[in-house]
Symmetry: C2
Subunit: 119 residues, 2 copies
């Protein structure tokens, strides 16, 4: 896991919604079970996985081999208002989407109305 | 469709089986309906599609945009023994697999046995 050289990068988009951040990562050929989504150091979103080349079989020959296999990892530093207790992930058509909810903004101090009695 | 500059390449593997060729192309985020598989000039397999960025919505901001969108195309010259009438394609987890059957090898001429009668 620590060997950066063996790690392939995979393109990602990051989108900000009013109430959440969404991290979209291309992962063609990976199923949900092959992908790991973790939070490290309280503010780093870590997405990792491994794409395996199917085993060589008797009578099968590769004429071309461009698709990258192996481990890959992406790290995203989360914004301060990310709620690391409210993260969900879904993988569809080889694309992983991780949604991180935002913490509610600090409650603005309500203006206090003080009744002034006129004596 | 003819503008090569607008076309992104996408990695592919080509495998040869005893009775078929299989072309494997990464297409994360595309559904079967977004992909076109054609045979051109009788011996060229053409795989094309388009990945669209979802429409910009009010209140959604892209903080990072690495995933490529747009049209893409891959062409493969088919071997002579490819049977262009026997092609099937399936897309799963963002990976397209196109199987092209091989034509049966030309029937070897059977050795003829000529009975030689001894006079």
């Amino acid at each position: 896991m620590r060997d950066a050289k063996a790690m392939a990068a995979t393109p990602a988009d990051v989108k900000e919604y009013p109430n959440s951040y969404v991290f979209v990562v291309d992962m063609p050929g990976l199923k949900s079970g092959d992908i790991k989504v973790q939070v490290e150091d309280d503010n780093v979103l870590l997405v990792s996985g491994e794409r395996k080349r199917e085993e060589e079989k008797e009578g099968v020959k590769f004429l071309r081999m461009e698709r990258r296999v192996g481990k890959f990892m992406r790290k995203f530093v989360l914004p301060e208002n990310a709620n690391t207790d409210a993260i969900s992930a879904v993988c569809q058509d080889g694309v992983l989407s991780v949604t991180v909810q935002k913490l509610p903004p600090p409650q603005p101090t309500k203006p206090r109305t003080i009744e002034v009695k006129i004596a």
